[in-house]
Subunit: 331 residues, 2 copies
């Protein structure tokens, strides 16, 4: 801590959303003065230019000692984005539970130890990136704020478990936590990843780059999306939120755009034309279809909207943000 | 395993519900032949008379090695009732998470290791005793089967976390699990315990024994109850259930009786008269009122009812079962 200036730790700061978040904070989006921002990840994270100190450190948060090392910094705000993705966690049961669940628990325990050591004065804002993967089929037409968590992937179960910890550690006053259930982030820049949801971005990103993309699910597949810019924006908003407004419920479904793959493709056609659309190659994949069939399709995120969280209005807007933020405005 | 005869492990077999369960199994209520039943607890459990081998062993399930020792028996059915109660878990944060959450996880990990060592053939039925404490206020008039878990006690969070593990380990085929969310068990025999819900039994049990009882909450307090006999019956039924009927949702709200403290007292009056009722002494306790205010009051347990789980119809019936089972039929 440095006077009224906030110190910030981003775990998973090298990942796509972590980098967007660091960029928004560096650009002053947090709205409060910052003295220092530390980006932690397995590999050294790229650092945005900022008017305050920004640095990077590496380590595996699944190691208890690494969690302790990070908590010992006593950052005012902890953004916890460190995780392995859904496809990886599904294929590697132990690794997933180790990193996504035990790792989060070690971190919260390490922070609790700092809280105790400080005589109770250290209570950081803790913003956890959860996921709509905490939900499992069958679903109502729109998932409301009181719908049960019944995850159908290990990744979703690990996120739901961490949410329970965040809520109980907050209730006890060790942290001031909030869990943000991100929609599927689309359009992700860069390469495809191991997430089963990777293709939702691929079918837009690759054609815009003049490359072929595989579509492993039927065009009727409906899903829930938000842009990387919105995802980082949710986390920034969560860091500033008056958590007294949350009552005993510290997990929030975020706003987003519900659309089918056909509607995604239609939006791509409007923006980039038929030549782009022709680069999408349907190639059904039973494994991915099985996972995605158990994923949410639409939400009524009333609480989050009331609390001021904002996302895109339609999928065209999501593509335009990708073009603005990643392609220098040119499709 | 011994031919078609089932081997049974009851963790928490020395507790009140564990003992009722052991008694029902010893009396042949499981409906399938049993060759052996092992009761595990911190202290040596009493053994019911049975036509098969019944024995006891002691240890702390929060120790990984103890969980491994139990899993190494490869019981066909594991009933997991080992836990510290809500008041204890709320007062002792570390102990609660250690026993109720980490202990359950160690146990599931130990079973998974046996599953792997068996080449995948060992997949025990795993019946976990969860609790309505997984729910937190505000509530709808009746809690339905798709209502969110938002526990407002550490105990509830620990139960909800174990449910997530049971569901994911089942989905992966390591166990064939089911989580039974017990109502508050009433009338508990014996002494008051550290559970914040202890008084719900005390205000019936103590007056029936001619003793004074403290009522720490207002008479309008509404809650959800089932008898110890029903609780054990739920677990027996869960052990026999065709889990394919559960789909991806392995946690079930049990049936029960919704009534106010005033209605409890009225039932006591009918059965034991005004002299018994006079022994109840109102003495508001802010801590207990605070905990109980966040507890469920009424349910619509449609799935469980459809799956054949049965409880009492009213609170008078609950008192009569206590008198039958604990007082030799005489109030």
């Amino acid at each position: 801590m440095a006077g009224n200036h906030q110190t910030i730790l981003i775990l998973g700061g090298g990942g796509m959303v972590g980098q967007k978040l660091a960029g928004q904070i560096a650009a002053g989006k947090l709205g409060t003065p910052v003295s220092e921002m530390l980006l932690h990840d397995i590999q050294e994270a790229a650092l945005p230019a900022a008017e305050f100190k920004v640095h990077a450190t590496t380590g595996n948060i699944a190691d208890r000692s690494e969690a302790e090392r990070m908590a010992a910094q006593r950052p005012d705000i902890v953004f916890h984005l460190a995780a392995i993705v859904s496809g990886d966690a599904e294929a590697n049961f132990e690794k997933g539970w180790d990193i996504n669940a035990r790792g989060s628990w070690h971190l919260l325990e390490a922070i609790r130890a700092e809280h105790e050591a400080s005589g109770g004065s250290y209570v950081p804002r803790f913003v956890f990136t959860s996921s709509i993967a905490v939900f499992g089929a069958p679903f109502p037409e729109k998932i409301g704020d009181e719908f049960l968590c019944a995850p159908q992937t290990s990744y979703g179960a690990q996120k739901a478990m961490t949410e329970l910890l965040v809520a109980d550690y907050s209730r006890k006053g060790f942290i001031d936590g909030i869990s943000i259930r991100l929609p599927t982030i689309c359009v992700r820049p860069g390469k495809p990843n191991l997430a089963a949801s990777s293709f939702f971005s691929g079918i837009i990103r690759e054609p815009l780059n003049g490359e072929r993309a595989i579509l492993p699910v039927p065009e009727e597949t409906r899903h829930w999306h938000a842009s990387p810019r919105s995802a980082a924006g949710f986390l920034v908003h969560a860091a500033n939120l008056d958590t007294a407004l949350l009552g005993g419920r510290r997990s929030l479904n975020m706003p987003g755009v519900s659309c089918t793959v056909a509607e995604q493709i239609e939006a791509l056609r409007k923006i980039a034309g038929e030549d782009a659309v022709k680069l999408i190659e349907p190639k059904p994949d039973e494994t991915i279809m099985g996972i995605v069939a158990n994923w949410p399709r639409d939400f009524d995120p009333a609480r989050a909207v009331e609390l001021g969280f904002k996302a895109e209005q339609n999928f065209e807007e999501i593509i335009r943000i990708y073009i603005e933020d990643e392609l220098g405005g040119k499709a």
